[in-house]
Amino acid sequence: MKSNPTLTDAPIAELRSASKRFGAVLAADDLNLSIERGEFLSFLGPSGCGKTTALRMLAGFEPPSSGQVLLDGQVVNDLPAYRRPVNMVFQHYALFPHLTVAENIGYGLRQQRPRPSTADIAKAVDKALETVRLQGFGPRRIWEMSGGQQQRVALARAIINQPKLLLLDEPMAALDKKLRRDMQIELQSLQRSLGITFVLVTHDQEEALSMSDRICIMRGGKIVQIGSPRDLYDRPKNRYVADFVGKSNFFAGTVDAGGGSLTATGHRLAGRPTQSLIAGQAAWASLRPEQISLTRQPGEGISLPVQVETRIFLGEHTEYLVKNADLGAFQVLVSRQAESTEGGFEPGDKAFAGWQDGAALILADD
């Protein structure tokens, strides 16, 4: 089949200046976002940041107060959820307790008009059960299924309709850590094999980083930054993003002339600004714990005398909390390999914390 290139290149969904107001609260504030065909996009942020509202606007549960929601190039502001080719995996799954597993999964197909034949529905349900590896569970009741199995049922119930967008609202929140990890891998491979665009809402940065093609970081109803996990990790726009994506040490200071460094309690910390900064402005020098090394002798580049405060063994890495007289306490992550050459440190040991001069990121609050 020949496809129209202008159609397939167009984003599958878009938010254009979409805002949502609940009384005095602006839950979503002027959101602008294009969701590409077949991508895995995550909304990441703390609770109340507007990520769920954004998802619910795409699903059709909340019409935007202003702005537009587009699906496949069409404005769908007033299209109710039951008319949108979009399906959702709900937080806590929202499975129908009075229906069997198979009836839950076939629910969407039974709503189609003209209604598919019973045999066709049964066939599609079997295939969906197979996709989520629940063959033979069709006649079971919902309450007979474990949390992880219920999640698969919710997933099957959504994908059987071959939606243009699959929305996932904190789908892993109720699962234990091990199961969550398995499910993340499974979701990712499912997304690739089905070719459906996935939009995930989560407050778990690890989940967003490991699964997404792009992450949309939100705060207070606004989008702070959109980018690939690597982009966000290497070039966070501000301190909020750097804090949310991975761990970071932040040293408060004022920006020097030129913007390429800042002075923090007498120390000049050189680095790379991720947005334009004005000399004298209050800012932060950000350093990832793994960028810092710990040695017994002062080394090249920046090298600060520190005292080891605590030590946490993490297997492949050891995490130290060290304290410098001027800059205060910060974290250092030492790999097993580095530790074997330098030897381990004990709380109370004197050491030198060092990093390559210019390795810091110079970040503003906003």
Partner: protein, 263 residues
């Protein structure tokens, strides 16, 4: 302690009326053979109890639905109070109000002045039905309200998300998941209605009488305890049969689900 009065009634039902009323021990089936003379009371009860239950259900469901799903918090509190408040006064006093409302000076007079005819309402089965609905409505509203209130509203969103418009969502999700409340309410109202005597006595004016009225009459007026006991035993048997049939039916319908319980 619970079954002792029932045993007494059962034993009495085979006895005879004494010369001055009361009970004389005997063993005769005469009382049961005479049950036919109270057929009208049984007929009224067996018609008006199910019809009254149904009428309560038809009014209570939309009310409970509005309370649990549509109403805002302020409306909800106000309406719940309005449903509860009548319970604070005796049904006797409230029935007097209905005697006035349905009597010649009440609703019929109002209809007459509007040129809509002057129907006789008081002392008819209709008046008894109105009294029943009025008196028993809260008993039907509350179980249904509770089951609708407990209904996870996200299920309605899930249904919509899967392409089901609101009216069908009601039939597919809301109604089946509130059937536990409906079953409880119907059972409660029906059982209590089978023993009702106050409403038919006051609003039926001796023309529309229930088995309950026959019992009051037999025990307190004609003092025929033996025959009264036989009528009571017959009523208990009728209830046993209908309630068992009802429970069978709801259980089969529920298909062994654990979200449906009768009480």
């Amino acid at each position: 302690m619970l079954v002792l009065p029932l045993v007494v009634v059962f034993v009495f039902s085979f006895g005879e009326r004494g010369p001055a009323g009361g009970y004389v021990p005997a063993f005769t089936f005469d009382n049961f053979l005479n049950l036919g003379t109270r057929w009208a009371a049984f007929k009224n009860t067996l018609v008006l109890a199910p019809v009254g239950t149904l009428a309560c259900l038809l009014i209570a469901y939309p009310l409970a639905y509005f309370l649990a799903i549509r109403a805002g918090d302020r409306w909800k509190t106000l309406l719940l109070i309005l449903v509860i408040v009548p319970f604070w006064t005796s049904i006797l006093i409230r029935s007097y109000a209905w005697i006035f409302l349905l009597g010649g000076q009440g609703l019929p007079a109002l209809l007459d002045s509007l040129g809509l005819g002057n129907p006789r309402l008081i002392n008819t089965p209709f008046a008894v039905l109105v009294g029943i609905v009025y008196g028993y409505l809260p008993l039907m509203v509350f179980p249904i309200y509770v089951s609708l209130e407990r209904l996870d509203k996200r299920l309605l969103e899930a249904s919509s998300d899967l392409g089901c418009p609101p009216a069908r969502t009601f039939l597919n999700v809301t109604l089946p998941l509130s059937m536990a409340g409906v079953a409880t309410g119907c059972m409660l109202v029906f059982i209590l209605l089978m023993g009702e005597f106050l409403i038919p006595a006051m609003l039926g004016g001796g023309k529309v009488f229930f088995v309950g009225n026959a019992l009051v009459d037999l025990f307190l007026q004609s003092r025929n305890w033996a025959f009264g006991s036989a009528v009571a035993v017959a009523l208990v048997l009728v209830m046993l049969v209908t309630v068992t049939a009802y429970m069978r039916a709801t259980r089969r319908w529920a298909g062994g689900r654990d979200d449906v319980s009768l009480m």
